[in-house]
Amino acid sequence: MTELRPIKTAAETALAEAFASAKARLPGDREVAARREAAFRRFEADGLPSRRTEEWKYTDLRALMRDAKPLAVPPAARALQPQALGDALPGIAALNVAIVNGVYAPGWSDAGAGDPGVTITELFAWLAEHTDFRLDRAVPEPVDLALALNSAFMTGGAVVHVRKGARVDRPIHLACRFVGDSPAAMYPRTLVFVEPGAQVTLIETCDGPAGLDYQINGALALVVGDGAQVERIKIGNEGAKALHIETIMASIGARASYREFAFTSGSAVTRNQLFLRCSGEGSNVRIAGANLLKDRQHVDSTLVVDHAAGGCESREVFKSVLEDESRAVFQGKIVVRPQAQKTDGKMMTQALLLSEKAEADNKPELEIFADDVQCGHGATAGRLDENLLFYLRARGIPAKEAEALLIQAFVGEAIDGIGHEGVRDMLNGRVAAWLEARG
């Protein structure tokens, strides 16, 4: 009996051709090249993840990614206009780190004039100086097909280093942009090291042209040292046809605090996958997200929180507002290792379905190997409460306005958890604008 293998899709064939032709000119030394090769073989063995891959069950990349775009060309220096980044965070003075068309763009970045506690280096320059660096030792590196593609193609990125005990006042703004006239693919990778006791806010914004079906498959490795306090906020505002995948691999040190918030209103397809390990005892982790989706938008929030040390607290709160035929997927897994006693982990997902054809898929999983833990999860999906709407309307508030008020409140509960006040206000404004556009 022969093994049944699905035939290669157009995208898989194009990826193989792209890798064959690009590998000689992709940056990095011989060791990087060998890792690219191994990663691509790993990808090729299974191909694009589909419904048959449990971790990608609800985001069938084989079906959603029809073709593979050519690698993006780094933009000419004169095409870079620094003011274009300023619009992304109105009123917030940030330290810009720009990743344009998949590569670090110093012309758009504030590396030199930055904070004394922060060092920013181009990815391959940094790797050349740190030949002993092993990703899988620094952070949990999953066996994942999208990550394998990023490892194979890694086009560029930045390495951000926050010095021990530094209090970085201005948020570090990782600005991911695509500028171009035709669809292209980008595979940026960023490494962020926050040394013990340091405090920093990372804001990641993603943007690109609305009319182009470009593809971003990025990866971010984040090491949070003991006692450090990190807040990461991602604002996904990709063009309406974009495919956006990001793999985050994070290790959280003892007594550290890590907060994350992912806001998505752009892109056709987004997959945010987070692999987080509580590496030291007594850390506090808050992972939250809000999605505002319409048309046929698809957003997948997948996360694995691995409690490898005891006494850590993790909370996940995700909210989705779904119009038209949009779809929100949540897959959350909490793992509690035998040694991780006194773990406290809770997950909550809520979806507001504004249309008959919208869909929310929830897959919470608990894998608990310790006996003295508190873990739980909850999920709700439903429409706006008719009785609440009537209450508001009976007070003179027109139907559309009443709906907007309730939706804003629903999403606001998640947004209120953001520590950075400027971003909180900005996102509340984004929600209001989204509701306004809804009409």
Partner: protein, 259 residues
């Protein structure tokens, strides 16, 4: 058309109203006329249709009007959306005020007041004007400023929720207030505070319909006219002494009468 016609038009005129909920007829030909400045009490046993009347006046969806008419200052009320009815001056104090997580009472009040003003082509209140108004009204009702910053009714006691309803009525200044079992779930102290709040809103220009199962609320809010509602119809109308009679004899006679 006569010049003084407006004075002749009743605040509320309900004629032969038939209402069906989930295929069951609840109101079976209800007639009611409320003139400007009058306080009417509607009393009746459970299931007689009191809350249905309140909800149908406010415009709740699930209530199907199968016959009759309702006019509010001569305008066909049933043709209006709930928010349009509110802007015209109709207010329903809910029997079970709802909790609205994530919407502060202040935001809710400001949105409601300004939505109504906008609909009436009046200028929206500025922030200082609004805050002054709310401070005055809440002080009179003993509503804590801290409560106003919290989400609407979330974690409020039964008494606080009802007080919040009256605060809304005071701020929205309706022409007709419909109080749906505002006394339910209140102890005597809370009842007095709420009744005092309602009494302060009495005026020659404002009418009210006080719906209640028990007579005790009517000791505090003294009505001009008392109606007995039974099996979907007004079966008896009298002065305030009718309430006392009902308290003494109960509703048993009316249930039989309507059967």
């Amino acid at each position: 058309m006569r010049e003084d016609e407006e004075d002749d038009v009743a605040m509320l005129e309900v004629k032969d109203l038939h209402v069906t909920v989930d295929g069951r007829e609840i109101l079976k030909g209800l007639d009611l006329t409320v003139n400007k400045g009058e306080i009417h009490a509607i009393m009746g046993p459970n299931g007689s249709g009191k809350s249905t009347l309140a909800h149908v006046l406010a415009g709740k969806d699930q209530y199907e009007v199968t016959g009759g008419s309702v006019t509010f200052e001569g305008v066909d009320l049933l043709a209006l959306e709930p928010d349009e009815r509110a802007a015209k001056g109709l207010f329903l104090a809910f029997q079970y005020p709802l909790e609205i997580p994530g919407v502060t009472t202040m935001n809710f009040l400001r949105t409601a007041i300004n939505a109504q003003r906008k609909k009436r082509h009046e200028l929206e209140l500025t922030a200082p004007e609004f805050i002054k108004k709310v401070r005055e009204a809440s002080a009179k009702l003993g509503v804590d400023q801290e409560m106003l910053r919290r989400p609407v009714n979330v974690g409020f006691s039964g008494g606080e929720k009802k007080r919040n309803e009256i605060l809304q009525m005071a701020l929205l200044e309706p022409k007709l207030g419909v109080l749906d079992e505002t006394d339910s779930g209140l102890d005597i102290d809370a009842l007095k505070i709420v009744a005092d709040g309602v009494n302060r809103l009495r005026s020659a220009e404002r009418s009210m319909i006080v719906i209640t199962h028990y007579q005790r609320l009517l000791n505090h809010i003294v009505p001009d006219i008392v109606h007995v509602l039974s099996r979907g119809r007004i079966v008896r109308t009298g002065g305030k002494e009718l309430a006392l009679e009902l308290e003494a004899k109960g509703y048993a006679g009316y249930q039989d009468e309507a059967a």
